[in-house]
């Protein structure tokens, strides 16, 4: 079974059970997102992919596509809201792009550029989040965590390990690791895990490998995130 809906006036074909964002990305139409990843069950928490469906706002990653839906995404109102969400994510953590190893490869940064975010607007929270450098091969810099839970899903659903989980509540929500010590070194985390490779920002970083690709030649230095996402979909044969 399949059907069609319109996204900003463009007709998109979908298969039954597909979400709006799945169908849109497959058709080469980018909808900004951070916690969504085609390989994992949608989480619906970052709210960047909020679109209007028949006039009502909803997250495109958790809303299933239905025949004759009228979906709007590239509107000024929605992009203003997305920019505000991105700013919220920036002030909630400690994101210092110029000194971050992930700069240029970071989806938060790339999304901010895509949305034309010029400043962080809100007052910074400057949370105190100690690093975890216990693991011989990997470093965890919680300062940059946006709580997208991709590493949680990757570790649980793909690696079968549950190395990561969300702990705390509200603004005190934070990433926790599966060890009595709370340290990554005491988990069964390994460099070949899917979870090692899924962080859209700079939390889970390989050690002993700094600035291998110079700034200026990194993923989002060469292409904007909408083009990158589309090329990734092409690589995966849509």
């Amino acid at each position: 079974m399949s059907g069609t809906f319109t996204l900003d006036g463009k007709t998109i074909t979908f298969d039954d059970g597909q979400s709006i964002i799945q169908a849109a990305l497959k058709a080469g139409s980018y909808i900004p997102h951070l916690c969504y990843h085609p390989d994992f069950k949608p989480h619906g928490s970052c709210k960047l992919c909020t679109v209007t469906v028949n006039g009502r706002q909803t997250a495109a990653c958790t809303m299933l596509a239905a025949d004759h839906m009228v979906v709007e995404s590239e509107t000024e109102v929605l992009n203003d809201e997305r920019r505000a969400l991105t700013q919220m994510l920036f002030v909630e953590g400690n994101h210092f792009c110029p000194s971050c190893e992930k700069s240029g490869d970071c989806q938060l940064q790339a999304t901010a550029y895509h949305l034309g975010m010029m400043d962080s607007h809100y007052d910074h929270f400057f949370p105190n989040r100690p690093l975890d450098a216990s693991h011989p091969d990997f470093l965890l810099d919680f300062n940059r965590c946006i709580l997208c839970s991709l590493c949680v899903r990757a570790s649980r659903d793909v690696d079968g390990k549950n190395v990561f989980a969300l702990g705390g509540r509200g603004i005190k929500s934070h990433l926790i690791v599966n060890a009595k010590s709370g340290k990554l070194a005491d988990t069964d985390f390994s460099a070949v895990d899917k979870a090692a490779d899924v962080c859209p920002v700079g939390v889970i970083l390989p050690k002993k490998r700094g600035f291998v690709v110079p700034i200026g030649e990194r993923t989002f230095d060469k292409q904007s995130i909408d083009v990158y996402i589309d090329s990734r979909m092409v690589k995966e044969d849509r």
């Binding site: 619906g44 928490s45 809201e81 969400l85 709580l147 989980a165 690791v177």
Partner: protein, 602 residues
């Protein structure tokens, strides 16, 4: 070390056995484990990981979500001051300061001898008899300076809680006005007998005719919910009673659970009869832990009366049982899908919807979630019929509403009215003179000014979950809104970005105004944030978090104008204020320890 492990094992084993070694009961297991040991010891968690076959992240993730679970020692006595605006108005802050001073302990920290910790908590549902506290999760009401001092002595002398004066723990019903729901004389089983006589379809038809709508605030039509659930395919159907009465200012479910217990359980049972469920779960908020023994006793008695169990009232294949689950301090669990997550032993994060609980609820099976009062009301419909019930109240709002009234009035307590009663009438009845505002349905509801007191309580006018907080002319409505904003920031589950960050940003802006750094720019920022919360949040908490601010800005503008001390934007950051900690540490307060106030001089 080994000896410690044995110790944990000895109290954990009976708990695990009681809950069938099932991770789905994790919240209950953790609650009982903590009741036994005072906090969740890392070695206890080791043992649970092993026995429940779950990763440590699961247990720590759940434990750190709920306010009443502690992963670190919090003292033999854990004192929590209810911090609803009504407690504030009764000066809970100075009582807390007194207790802390007496016991030589800082709020939020464990005393150096490890004996006691003192902190604030969200409204504990004792607004008609505040100021209220919880000690080791048991409610103490009517706090006075004298009672504070006595409690300090009891704590210092390490008197076990069970030996504290029983009058401390007395919770009064304070029923001031009764209508059909609160009338006495209900005979346990009578409604069930009537329902069985009508048959499941007949009973559902009566509910439909009655026009009954949910009493938890959203007002969804009960018959549609029951019918959709009954018709949904599933291995089993479930009935869930939402007794997570967390909305600040609401305490009517507490009274229904205390004194009308049979009605609540009977309503759940007849729902089970209609939808074909064999199991009911009542989710009791952690603050009402003191009601647990009472509720379980009533369940045992109802079993003996054949009002629960198998072949209820002799009806073949009518089997139904009820289990109580106790929450652990999370307002968000009042949201039905978060409540179900919590029932399943998880973090109380609202689910993505659709699907809705009526098709995919508890254990992904069709589930009816209704409020305590809704279930109680169905007993009357079973007995007297839907048409009779529809005749009460207004055309669009059938029946009665139980209101929890607190704040500036001489007779706070429980009032039951047929729908359609005016706010003015209620104010008169409760002895509120000089009211400038009423907060109806709690922080997530609506703030009414004295221009609006002729509105009526009804789904078509002012819908409510039951809270009714009165503020007289001396109250500062800005501070009321600021208290509510702090509440939402504290209770946001943190799942979605707009609510997690937005409620904290809103709190910071209100604090900025409070601290004297407000300008018209900040008001605009508040309005922008409110719009973001409203349009982007994942669930009702975020959608309604801005209500008290929007309402008070619109209706009590002068309270905000007072805070507009500056015409142009100035930062919230105050360099002199940030030296506070240094002044405290050095014991200095001379002019050399202060920065000159640049702004005032220009």
């Amino acid at each position: 070390m080994d000896k410690l492990k044995v110790d944990h094992k000895s109290y954990l084993n009976p708990i695990l056995a009681r809950y069938g070694f099932q991770a789905i009961n994790l919240v209950q297991i953790l609650r009982e484990a903590q009741e036994s040991f005072g906090y969740l010891h890392p070695d206890a968690i080791d043992y649970l990981i092993n026995k429940l076959n779950v990763p440590r992240t699961k247990i720590e993730g759940v434990a750190s979500f709920y306010s009443f679970f502690y992963l670190e020692p919090r003292g033999k006595y854990r004192v929590l001051f209810s911090d609803n605006i009504t407690d504030r108005m009764l000066d809970n802050q100075s009582l807390m300061a007194r207790l802390c001073r007496n016991l030589w302990v800082e709020p939020g920290k464990l005393s150096e001898d490890g004996l006691v910790s003192v902190d604030f908590t969200s409204c504990t549902g004792m607004c008609d008899q505040g100021p209220a506290i919880l000690v080791n999760n048991f409610a103490i009401t009517l706090l006075t300076e004298q009672r504070v001092d006595e409690i300090c002595d009891l704590i210092r002398n390490r008197v076990p809680l069970a030996l504290w004066p029983p009058e401390y723990f007395q919770v009064m019903d304070n029923i001031r006005r009764k209508d059909l729901l609160l009338e006495d004389g209900f005979v346990a089983g009578a409604a069930l007998a009537a329902a069985i006589k009508r048959g499941p379809d007949g009973m559902l038809a009566e509910i439909r005719t009655s026009g009954l709508r949910g009493r938890g605030g959203a007002g969804f039509t009960t018959s549609i919910k029951w019918e959709s659930c009954r018709n949904a395919p599933g291995e089993a159907h479930y009935v869930v009673c939402n007794a997570d009465e967390g909305e600040p200012g609401t305490f009517k479910d507490r009274v229904l659970l205390t004194s009308y217990t049979d009605k609540v359980f009977e309503g759940m049972t007849l729902c089970g009869y209609v939808i074909g469920a064999q199991k009911g779960l009542l989710y009791l908020r952690g603050e009402y832990r003191y009601l647990l023994d009472h509720l379980n006793e009533v369940l045992v008695r109802r079993h003996q009366q054949n009002l629960l169990g198998s072949n209820i009232q002799g009806k073949e294949e009518f089997d139904f049982d009820i289990e109580i689950h106790v929450g652990a301090g999370a307002y968000i669990c009042g949201e039905e899908s978060a409540l179900i997550e919590s029932l399943e032993g998880k973090r109380g994060t609202p689910r993505n919807r659709p699907p809705f609980p009526v098709t995919h609820g508890y254990l992904n099976q069709p589930t009816v979630v209704n409020n305590v009062e809704t279930f109680a009301a169905t007993c009357h419909i079973a007995q007297k019929g839907g048409a009779w019930y529809a005749g009460i109240g207004t055309l669009k709002s059938a029946g009665t509403k139980v209101m929890s009234i607190s704040g500036d009035c001489s007779r706070p307590g429980i009032y039951e009215y047929p729908f359609g009663v005016s706010v003015r009438q209620i104010l008169e009845d409760c002895g509120a003179i000089d009211a400038q505002a009423v907060q109806v349905s709690g922080p997530s509801g609506v703030t009414l000014s004295d221009q609006e007191f002729d509105h009526i309580i009804a789904f078509e006018d002012i819908p409510t979950a039951g809270a009714f907080m009165v503020f007289n002319a001396t109250r500062d409505m800005f501070e009321v809104a600021r208290n509510f904003v702090h509440f939402f920031a504290h209770e946001s589950c943190g799942f979605c970005t707009p609510c997690r960050v937005g409620t904290s940003l809103l709190r910071n802006l209100m604090d900025k105004l409070h601290n004297g750094h407000g300008s018209p720019y900040d008001l605009k920022e508040i309005e922008k944030l409110n719009n973001l919360l409203l349009s982007l949040s994942h669930c009702g908490l975020g959608h309604t978090a801005c209500n008290p601010v929007l309402d008070t800005i619109n209706k009590f503008r002068p309270a905000y104008k007072l805070r507009m001390l500056h015409q142009e934007f100035i930062p919230a950051f105050d360099l002199d204020w940030s030296l506070q900690a240094a002044r405290q540490m050095t014991g200095r307060s001379d002019s050399g320890a202060h920065l000159p106030d640049v702004e005032e001089k220009t």
